[in-house]
């Protein structure tokens, strides 16, 4: 009996300026195989389906259990984490492409540092006096913890930004992930001291009003974060803040 194999079509690009080409691979099937483990196979035997030697594929991955957020890419047209993309659940040939909204580095690797810059711009942190012993933290009731915990599960994969029609160079939109973090820190008993600054940071160009409510973000989020709720809540707060600022002159 012939060995069971899996067919892949992978978009390759040697550098940001190089032309993109497609390469086909045929890889021996293994139980529980996912898209990243297939690329590990290619690294150990870098030969295309038609027998031509090639280079191992450049891609980001780290934890292999969908918690580090590294391996986001487009698989059969859909933005998702490659480590949890099980081959048995995918139509073949499996088409693998890099995320399209971020500067390409090489092959499937892109530069997503814009998200970390956005998080800095909205001050997504709790401002502490210091890390010395200042006693216990504020009381938080379980209901509040249960509301905030999902927002804190964001793995910065940027899938929500990839699928957002408004996330592009024209709008400069910050994207859903950053907005959800604004909600998280504005909810925190200490974090809310920076609430006004965060809301103002989302009030200008590229801010929350760029959202077109396509709701693609919430559908694609691998952590099922209530992103559209966060956007509506923060949207309302931004408007209130604008009104307050206007009245204050």
């Amino acid at each position: 009996m012939a060995t069971k194999t899996v067919q892949f079509e992978i978009r390759r690009q040697a550098s940001p300026d190089a032309p993109a080409v497609w390469e086909n691979f045929e890889i021996e099937w293994r139980p529980g195989m996912n898209v990243v483990s297939a690329m590990m196979e290619i690294a150990a035997n870098p030969v295309t389906a038609d027998g031509r030697p090639t280079t191992p594929i450049t891609y980001d991955s780290n934890c292999m259990e969908e918690i580090c957020g590294s391996c986001a890419m487009r698989i059969n047209g859909r933005a998702r984490m490659a480590c949890s993309a099980l081959v048995d659940n995918l139509e073949q040939p499996i088409r693998v492409e890099p995320l399209s909204k971020f500067p390409l580095v090489r092959d499937l690797q892109v530069d997503r540092s814009v998200l970390f810059e956005n998080l800095m711009a909205v001050k997504a942190w709790v401002p502490l006096d210091g890390t010395y012993d200042l006693g216990s933290g504020p009381r938080v009731f379980p209901q509040e913890q249960e509301a905030n915990y999902p927002l804190s599960n964001c793995i910065s994969c940027t899938c929500c930004m990839e699928v957002c029609p408004q996330f592009n160079e024209t709008t400069g939109f910050v994207g859903a992930a950053t907005i959800a973090q604004v909600k998280l820190f504005n909810n925190h008993p200490t974090g809310k001291v920076l609430k006004e600054e965060r809301l103002r940071a989302l009030a200008g160009d590229g801010g929350i009003q760029e959202c077109g409510f396509s709701q693609n973000c919430v559908e694609v989020c691998p952590k099922r974060i209530p992103l559209t709720n966060a956007i509506s809540d923060v949207s309302r707060d931004v408007l209130l803040q604008k009104a307050k600022d206007f009245l204050r002159g």
Partner: protein, 592 residues
């Protein structure tokens, strides 16, 4: 005098903790990480973080935490630093709470605690089953705040290659490789802190992330840093077996009441629900009535091994046992364990709320590591280490939920200590050895890129992983360890013929991996040779031919030094600090 410049390598919990303390004290930090720090392996930690806050009215104390940790580690850890860590733990939890970590709460709004292995107290604070992720993010956010104030500069996507040592053997900086442009560059510093995690990759498949190669530790080991207790490797009892990696199934599953069992009859083919309670063998509960499913990891792992390989009771004859949560209601499971149940469901396809999980032990944690003194400094002046990459807090076996604590505590010590050291450092002569080290690294790079052999580095790595897993995990025999060392020597030899399929100078992952592989090979010898020399059983190190602990001969820290000789490292032994708790037999099967 200008503010001291400190380099921190590694952006997991230990590295970020060090960065925060240095920035807060007015130092300047350059933070190097292979991955964006928010994607570091600490993110994978699940179950929680220990601190004896005694919020459950059980009479828990930091002394009991200290005793559990030392006893759990089979008395191999130096007691002074462990004691200090356990005493600092409650304040660390408070700090994390103030940073906004969404810890689970009691109805009154206080921190909730759960039980973990190796203790009888509810001592583990947790944020669902993604505690590591939540802790890492909280520290990442604080570091970003310092970054926005210009106190921290991040070099994400740079790989540490070596320390720069001056003519007196004092650290004066590092060399690193930009993984995108492949630029090799030297970075001066007055002190460096390595916080580069575990070495799971030398076992091929483990619960560790891809980046956990131990390459940085090995690099400084080969430059003269002593490596301690390398033979102590934790195999976690409950992992999801996989072709690409072993995914952790947190001890918190048992902390919340999960039960481990197999059918009493070998090859029982009936559906699970038809197997009655009396036909199920809850072997941990029967063998260890006091601790039950929450015995320490080395004990649980060997028990599963015994049930599967000696008693032939693995499920369907396979190396797997059940981890069963189906008797717990769904709402509780979702509130406390959702993160890990999702992982199981995503990668296996079954919902563990409905059917018992199938699990098996897998390589998980590196107890050994770079030797450090009580100030977290290695034997090379100016090189500090913190977190899993050093050896100090866990002895021969780490207790669950002590790793996050030791990372943060170690980082909090290493940061200020590095700053103090740097302030009194004499200014360097000449360039501090930078030019010489850059030449040495450039030569290694050129040679690797121009090699025209036939060996694929990824294939060599697989062979290494198979050998290490076979001979140097749960059960160890001297004959097997000898074979493993011979195999590693063969691989080191074949490495000379490595041929990179990719010779480009842009985001060349094969090149970076091949450099790591050489370091993995050198470090593997520390593990297998150290294990071979330790003719006793202690904690995670188990030899059927020497089944007992032998304090007279081996209540000692193993210290390996690089020699460059074909025979491998040189081994010395150092007495263990046991001034607070007298070593006693470690018996989790006792009923009182």
């Amino acid at each position: 005098m200008a503010a001291p410049r400190i380099i921190v390598v590694g952006g997991g919990l230990a590295g970020l903790s060090a960065v925060i303390k240095i920035a807060e004290a007015g130092g300047k930090v350059d933070l190097f990480s292979i991955v964006p720090v928010k994607r570091s392996h600490s993110v994978c930690a699940q179950g929680g973080i220990n601190a004896a806050k005694n919020l459950k009215g059980e009479g828990d104390t930091t002394d009991k935490h200290f005793d559990d940790t030392v006893y759990g580690g089979d008395f191999l850890a130096n007691q002074t630093p462990v004691k200090a860590m356990c005493e600092a733990a409650p304040a660390i939890i408070d700090l994390l709470d103030r940073m906004g970590v969404p810890f689970n709460r009691t109805p009154e709004g206080l921190l909730d605690f759960r039980r973990f292995g190796g203790t009888l107290y509810n001592r583990t604070a947790f944020a669902g089953a993604t505690t590591g992720q939540q802790l890492l993010y909280a520290l990442d956010e604080q570091v970003r705040r310092h970054e926005s104030e210009g106190k921290v500069r991040k070099y994400e996507g740079w790989e540490f290659l070596s320390a720069v040592l001056d003519s007196k053997g004092v650290a004066r900086g590092i060399t690193a490789l930009d993984l995108r442009t492949m630029e090799l560059r030297g970075f001066p510093a007055d002190a460096i802190i390595l916080a580069t995690g575990g070495i799971g990759a030398i076992f091929g498949k483990s619960t560790n992330s891809v980046a956990c190669t131990g390459s940085a530790q090995s690099a400084v080991f080969q430059q003269g840093v002593t490596y301690a207790n390398g033979e102590f490797i934790q195999v976690h009892p409950t992992c999801i077996p996989g072709e690409d990696k072993l995914r952790l199934m947190s001890e918190s599953a048992r902390g919340e009441g999960g039960r481990v069992w197999v059918p009493r009859t070998a090859g029982d083919k009936r559906p699970i629900k038809q197997i009655s309670e009396s036909e199920r063998f809850y072997f941990l509960e029967e063998w260890y009535p006091k601790y039950g499913n929450l015995v320490p990891r080395d004990i649980a792992t060997r028990a599963i091994h015994k049930v599967v390989y000696e008693e032939g009771l693995g499920i369907d004859g396979q190396p797997m046992v059940y981890l069963d949560l189906t008797h717990i209601d769904r709402a509780t499971l979702d509130r406390k364990l959702e993160g890990i149940l999702d992982i199981y469901e995503k990668f296996v396809g079954d919902d563990p709320r409905d059917v018992p999980m199938k699990i098996f032990p897998g390589m998980h944690y590196t107890m050994g590591g770079l030797w450090v003194d009580f100030n977290q400094m290695t034997n090379i002046p100016g090189i500090f280490a913190a977190g899993e990459c050093e050896y100090q807090y866990h002895g021969a076996n780490r207790l669950g939920a002590n790793s996050l604590l030791s990372c943060i505590y170690g980082g909090f010590k290493a940061g200020p200590n590095a700053l103090t050291y740097a302030k009194s450092l004499e200014s360097m002569e000449g360039d501090g050895g930078h030019a010489r080290e850059l030449v040495r690294q450039a030569r290694i790079n050129t040679q690797l890129l121009n090699n025209s052999g036939t060996e694929n580095p990824f294939k060599l790595w697989r062979e290494l992983g198979e050998t290490m897993t076979k001979h140097a995990t749960v059960i160890r025999y001297n004959q097997g360890l000898k074979q493993a060392d011979e195999k590693i020597v063969e691989l080191i030899d074949r490495y000379k013929n490595v041929n990179l399929a990719d010779r480009s100078q842009w985001a060349n992952t094969s090149f970076a991996f091949a450099r790591q592989l050489k370091n993995m090979l050198e470090l593997s010898r520390v593990v297998v040779q150290g294990a071979r020399l330790r003719d006793e059983s202690r904690g995670a190190h188990y030899k059927p031919d020497f089944p007992d602990r032998n304090d007279e001969q081996f209540l000692k820290t193993t210290k390996a030094s690089f020699t460059g000789s074909p025979d491998g490292p040189r081994f010395d032994y150092e007495a263990v600090d046991t001034q607070y708790i007298k070593p006693r037999p470690r018996r989790y099967d006792a009923t009182n």
